[in-house]
């Protein structure tokens, strides 16, 4: 009886151990270091400087990498935003006025809408942001060498390499932004469109340069076919609006800014929320495959019936 009990509880015990150590026994909650980090970062730097923005002048990508990699030798829970100071100083460049796009909870949408810096320049289109975008990195906890299994998130420890990177990048991005500032928020996010504690709230707003900013425009986007948790003037958006007002900024708020909504509709084109008045007109003009697919299957038996009726 006792042996059976042990055998049946063993898988449960293993599950508990696995759970305690994270997925598959990993130390931290976040994704491990991206493989070939150096080649990716150097390649992205070269591409930005040589191909995409030669007008920004020469940047020494090797020196930039050397400045970045010092954090790869540090304890993964003791990396601070200031550790990236040299890296940022070597890679920063001016941002065109009226082109800054801040955001929370819609990374992919922002990247699509920004059109690789043709329409807007979000932080991931600036050289330092481009180099770190979608990557992960950290040293092992008790040894030199990178940890490819997992890296700490903010839930593991505050001063982790990736969060500190984005904090420092956000501060710089904010400082170098000017003109009209645009902010894209996700009004379908259950925890609120404006995270009161987040990169935008803590590392971007405080670094806005009052004398260089004309006004701030907020877009609260909602997911197609999903509930509208918050809109302009509501909930956390209201908190943001009040904060900006208090800081003395001129601001405005738009629900579902049309160009962005149209972009969201690309993969929801048949949803009623994406119906355009002109859609009805265009259907009539289209080559009618629908007719041959569906209409045909209804018409044929009808015609047969009609024909046989006429014959009789």
């Amino acid at each position: 009886m006792a042996a059976l009990g042990l055998a049946s509880s063993l898988p449960l015990l293993l599950l508990v151990i696995a759970g305690a150590g994270g997925a598959g026994g990993a130390r931290w909650r976040g994704e491990g270091t991206t493989r070939h980090l150096q080649s990716i970062i150097l390649g992205r730097c070269a591409e930005h400087v040589a191909l995409l923005h030669p007008e920004q002048g020469e940047k020494n990508c090797t020196a930039i990498w050397e400045a970045f990699k010092v954090v790869l030798d540090k304890d993964p829970c003791s990396v601070f935003p200031s550790d990236y100071d040299l890296f940022i100083n070597l890679s920063r460049h001016s941002i065109p006025t009226d082109k800054s796009l801040f955001w929370e909870n819609n990374h992919l949408l922002v990247t699509s809408y920004a059109e690789n810096a043709r329409r807007f320049v979000p932080v991931c289109s600036v050289l330092y942001g481009r180099m770190g975008d979608f990557l992960s990195w950290c040293r092992q906890e008790n040894a030199s060498g990178l940890d490819y299994q997992s890296c700490p998130t903010s839930e593991d420890c505050e001063n982790n390499p990736v969060d500190s990177f984005w904090k420092r990048a956000s501060m710089q991005y904010s400082r170098d932004s000017s003109g009209v500032i645009y902010v894209m928020l996700n009004g379908s996010e259950p925890t609120g469109a404006y995270p009161v504690k987040g990169f935008f709230a803590d590392f971007e707003i405080p670094y806005f340069q009052k004398d260089k900013i004309t006004r701030i425009e907020i877009w609260v986007m909602h997911e197609i076919g999903r509930p509208k948790v918050e809109s302009c003037g509501e909930g956390s958006v209201k908190i943001l609006e009040e904060r900006l007002k208090e800081m003395g900024f001129q601001y405005s708020c738009i629900n579902d800014h049309l160009p962005v909504k149209l972009l969201k509709c690309v993969d929801h084109s048949t949803h009623p929320d994406c119906a355009l008045k002109s859609a009805a007109a265009s259907i009539q003009r289209e080559v009618p495959p629908l007719w041959s697919e569906y209409g045909g299957s209804l018409i044929t038996p009808f015609l047969v019936a009609l024909a046989s009726a006429i014959q009789m």
Partner: protein, 305 residues
């Protein structure tokens, strides 16, 4: 030597400096030879020191930092964009890529040059997910950025790596030519870059299956251009046993007057070509999802409200 001018008095040769006339001639010849050899050696050294000059072409040269960009893109693609390919050996691929054109005549490029590279990169696109494009690059790529399960050639590994880059070598050097590269029209069409795109486009078409799609530009006269890569290489290399239908999305500029390009002679030509291959042709003007993309730039237009 002044003596010579006044030595015509006697017929006999008067020896100079104690050596015979014959010896003088030999010395002169030797002297001249030494000078010639000296010049030749100097020129030789100078030429050897100076790197052999690349040929001058009419097109822009190899992209600066070509190799770093190429390798970085390979790793980004295989580790971040499509992590299911994370075991790809990018070093090998990079080497195979450059071996295809380094130390070779950039106007004599062949498919064979790219064979080792092609053999290292066998990525197939799922059926019904291939998207071709012709004179509609921006729109097609904006579409696959949103519709991530569809692939243009530039969404496959090799296309992603090479997109927008220029490269060429020289048969007299092992270096890349950063000064200039052959221009397709003004120098030669069998250049390293064009042959690369022909080679990968051919395979992209050969590997396609099910329903294939193409974004075409209905606002130009040659909507279906038989001389374009799409016409010349991709349509030509579709396998009828694998591909049963080609759906064309013919997009017009938003501002232009609506017209039915699907019934134009240009597209009828495409229809006929596909008919001979037993591939069904379906044509749609201003396919809605792609039209919505155009609307992003023109949200106030009447057809976008």
């Amino acid at each position: 030597m002044a003596n010579h001018r006044f030595s015509s008095v006697s017929e006999e040769e008067k020896p100079c400096c104690g050596i015979s006339r014959k010896a003088q001639i030999c010395l002169c010849v030797l002297f001249v030879l030494l000078i010639v050899v000296g010049i030749a050696v100097s020129v030789g050294i100078l030429m050897w020191r100076q790197p052999p000059k690349h040929k001058e072409w009419k097109g822009p040269g190899t992209t600066a930092h070509f190799y770093e960009i190429l390798l970085g893109r390979c790793y980004t693609y295989t580790q971040v964009v499509r992590p299911e390919l994370r075991h790809t050996d990018c070093q090998k691929i990079g080497k195979a890529f450059t071996s295809a054109f380094l130390s070779k005549d950039p106007c004599g490029s062949t498919e064979q040059d790219y064979r080792p590279l092609m053999e290292l990169t066998t990525q197939t696109v799922p059926c019904d997910k291939t998207l071709f494009w012709s004179k509609s690059s921006e729109l097609a790529h904006d579409y696959t950025w949103v519709q991530r399960d569809m692939y243009t050639l530039e969404d496959t590994l090799l296309g992603y790596m090479a997109d927008g880059l220029k490269w060429c070598g020289d048969s007299g050097s092992s270096e890349m030519n950063y000064q200039s590269c052959p221009h397709w029209r003004e120098d030669c069409s069998n250049n390293s870059v064009s042959v690369f795109w022909n080679t990968v486009s051919k395979r992209f078409a050969e590997d396609a299956c099910g329903v294939v799609h193409v974004v075409l530009n209905g606002s130009i006269s040659n909507t279906f251009d038989e001389k374009s890569t799409f016409g010349r290489v991709e349509v030509f290399n579709l396998h009828p046993e694998k591909v049963h239908t080609l759906k064309a999305w013919v997009m017009h500029n938003i501002e232009s007057v609506p017209s039915d390009s699907c019934s134009s002679s240009s597209l009828n030509n495409l229809k006929q070509i596909l008919k001979t291959k037993n591939i069904i042709f379906v044509c749609q003007n201003n396919y809605r999802p792609v039209r919505l993309l155009q609307c992003v730039k023109n949200p106030e237009h009447s057809s976008c409200r």
